[in-house]
């Protein structure tokens, strides 16, 4: 039981750290400096990190607690939810910079696509972490995707 709470705490800590240090994390990715400056000035890193974090936690919560079904408890069902998170989180997160830049008439499409690839990676990583944080209290999916 303690182990489960440790996993939950770790998941929360990692998520919070990701949001807090989102700027540092994204900037370590060596994207186009001008693009990075624009993102930084528009405070988009933290907005996007928050969006991804919230989406991932919601998708995980939906899977483990709302759906929580034996009919949807195989690893490939979990994978479907991961795909959903990948589809939703980076899509929402690309919306902010896209609308921000289009309002200002700036064209960073290529950079945004590159940025989106990073977000997909982060979403996958975060979803795995969050899954291991919350799954223990799920009735039917606590052993998904990988049994203990």
């Amino acid at each position: 039981m303690i182990k489960n709470f440790i996993f939950l705490a770790l998941g929360i800590i990692i998520t919070v750290l990701y949001v807090i240090f989102s700027t540092e994390i994204y900037e370590a990715m060596n994207l186009d400096p001008a693009f990075m400056d624009e993102m930084y000035n528009a405070h988009l890193y933290s907005t996007i990190a928050s969006t991804i974090a919230v989406t991932v936690w919601i998708v995980a919560a939906v899977y483990y607690y709302l759906i929580n079904s034996v009919r949807f408890s195989r690893w490939y069902h979990w994978l479907i939810m991961l795909l959903l998170a990948i589809l939703v989180a980076p899509s929402i997160s690309i919306y902010f910079p896209f609308s921000e830049f289009s309002e200002e008439g700036k064209d960073y499409l290529m950079q945004l696509l590159q940025f989106n690839l990073i977000n997909i990676g982060i979403t996958i990583l975060l979803f795995i972490i969050v899954s291991f944080s919350v799954r223990w209290w799920s009735t039917n999916c606590r052993h998904t995707p990988i049994p203990e």
Binding site: M1, S69, V70, S73, R74, T139, N140, R142, H143, P147
Partner: protein, 508 residues
């Protein structure tokens, strides 16, 4: 409480089967007064039938052995289990006194009878002419030549003589020694056969006369023992066969004369030997059984009457002590009970029983049947998912344990056969739809409740409920790693109870 259950003759052994099935299902008799489960209940069946090759007897003995094995895997030798599948402990006499070196069998050793022809048994050839002439009056030539390993073939006059050795046997002595005041004795016999009709009075008489048997200890307790008996009146038909000594017409005549005899010697005001006497019969004749006077062939389909017979045993256990008083070998206010169905139908289901029976057995039977369905049709597919992965894990290696194999390959096969036989007999008792693979229509006459978002009952429902229950159990560290069989059965017991409460709550 120990219940010494004497099962005399073929019918006795046949009543044992539904009893074992009900006990496996977790039926637990409760005190009529308090409603509390009878504590430390242990049943010691003693089968008295010289006809050892009888198929029914063999099947029953196997069933008892499997029950014991399964129960040992679940609870060890504990007797303080008061709920769950297989909760009542069933033991042999030898189990109770292992140091005495008794044959570890549920079958009373009648070896000295079985090997001989009747005339040898009474040493006919050594008698003088006068006595031989008397014997010839009492026993027909065929009877004198009967080899008793096939029983007394409908001849109580042989049985009465032969079984009289009962009182001198080691088994009876040991039984008398371990009998305690709070224990009970129940005798099951058929009135219309040979062995049962003859054995029943002999057993009762010998117990009540224990005071005058100098070979016994504990004589006072035994004399005032609480004795119940089930007398099964004719209920099955036998196919007519000119060469057989057993006929349907004989059954009625024999029954009548036996009843007169019982009244005189057991139940009547003169004797007051029984504290409770159950009479059971049915005018509706069964499907004719093949006429087989012994030998290897006697294997008759299970019948609903036997099922009711088993209920009488449970009923006797439930009677409070104050209604079963015996003073100086005389039962005080003896009870006489019969059984009636709520509906007199030819095709019976769980709903045909009266309320008392429904309360006692229906939930347990449905639980057991759900267990049977789940373990047979789904469990293997669920290994590696959900609750099976909670510690202690139920891996696929679990399916090769002797517990699992005995339960699935032996006990459940027997269970299926039993249901099948009862269903095809007359009256037909079909509580479950044994041909279906689905849970939603497995209980005859009781479709599951449906509603918006409730869905049908299926194996996913079970898995989901097992997951929920296992989650709770894991939090409480309810099962240790050496309790895998118990984990599976206990989880299912709780889960089935919830499913029944939600979906099949009309069975009670």
């Amino acid at each position: 409480m120990n219940l010494f259950l004497f099962l005399v003759g073929g019918t006795g052994a046949r009543v044992l089967k539904p009893l074992v099935m009900q006990l496996a299902a977790g039926v637990r008799p409760c005190d009529e007064n308090t409603g509390a489960p009878i504590a430390d209940l242990q049943i010691i069946p003693i089968i008295m039938d010289p006809h050892r090759a009888n198929e029914d007897l063999k099947r029953t003995e196997d069933l008892l052995r499997w029950y014991k094995e399964i129960r040992r895997s679940l609870y060890g030798e504990r007797t303080d289990v008061d709920h769950g599948f297989f909760n009542v402990k069933i033991s042999t006499l030898a189990d109770l006194i292992p140091q005495k070196g008794l044959n570890n069998s549920f079958i009373f050793n009648l070896g000295s009878i079985a090997e001989k022809e009747f005339k040898d048994y009474i040493a006919y050839d050594t008698l003088n002419d006068a006595n031989q002439a008397l014997c010839s009056m009492l026993f027909s030539k065929d009877q004198l030549n009967t080899k008793m390993d096939i029983g007394f073939v409908g001849s109580p006059n042989i049985g009465a003589v032969a079984l009289n050795q009962f009182k001198d046997s080691v088994e009876f002595r040991e039984f008398a020694n371990i009998y305690k005041r709070e224990d009970r004795i129940f005798v099951v016999s058929s009135i219309f056969g040979g062995t049962g009709a003859a054995g029943f009075p002999i057993i009762v008489k010998n117990i009540r006369d224990a005071a005058s048997n100098p070979m016994l200890t504990n004589r006072g307790d035994l004399r005032d023992a609480k004795i119940g008996a089930l007398t099964v009146l004719p209920y099955f038909n036998v196919a007519s066969d000119e060469n057989s000594p057993i006929t349907r017409a004989d059954f009625v005549i024999k029954t009548k004369s036996a009843l007169y005899y019982y009244q005189e010697n057991l139940t009547g005001p003169k004797s007051l030997a029984l504290n409770a006497c159950y009479y059971l019969g049915d005018e509706e004749a069964s499907v004719p059984y093949p006429n087989d006077p012994g030998g290897d062939g006697q294997r008759n389909d299970a019948h609903f009457i036997e099922y009711v017979g088993a209920l009488s045993i449970l009923d006797f256990i439930s009677i409070p002590n104050d209604k079963l008083m015996t003073i100086d070998g005389k039962a005080q206010n003896p009870l006489f009970r019969e059984y009636g169905l709520k509906y007199d139908e030819k095709n019976l289901t769980l709903m045909t029983f009266g309320q008392r029976t429904r309360n006692l057995v229906n939930q347990s039977l449905v639980k057991f049947h759900l267990l049977y369905m789940y373990l047979t049709n789904q469990f293997m597919k669920d290994i590696g998912r959900g609750y099976t992965l909670d510690a202690p894990e139920l891996r696929s290696s679990f399916t090769s344990t002797s517990f699992y194999r005995t339960l699935i390959n032996e006990f459940f096969h027997s269970y299926y056969d039993w249901l099948m036989e009862m269903q095809s007999n007359n009256r037909s008792f079909a509580p479950f739809n044994i041909l279906t693979l689905k849970l939603e229509n497995c209980i005859v006459g009781i479709p599951p409740k449906k509603g918006l978002f409730k869905g049908v009952v299926d194996y996913k429902t079970v898995l989901s409920a097992m997951n929920a229950e296992s989650k709770k159990a894991t939090t409480q560290s309810r099962y240790s790693s050496n309790q895998l069989p118990f984990k599976l059965m206990d989880l299912f017991d709780s889960v089935a109870e919830k499913i029944i409460a939600k979906k099949f709550n009309s069975i009670k």
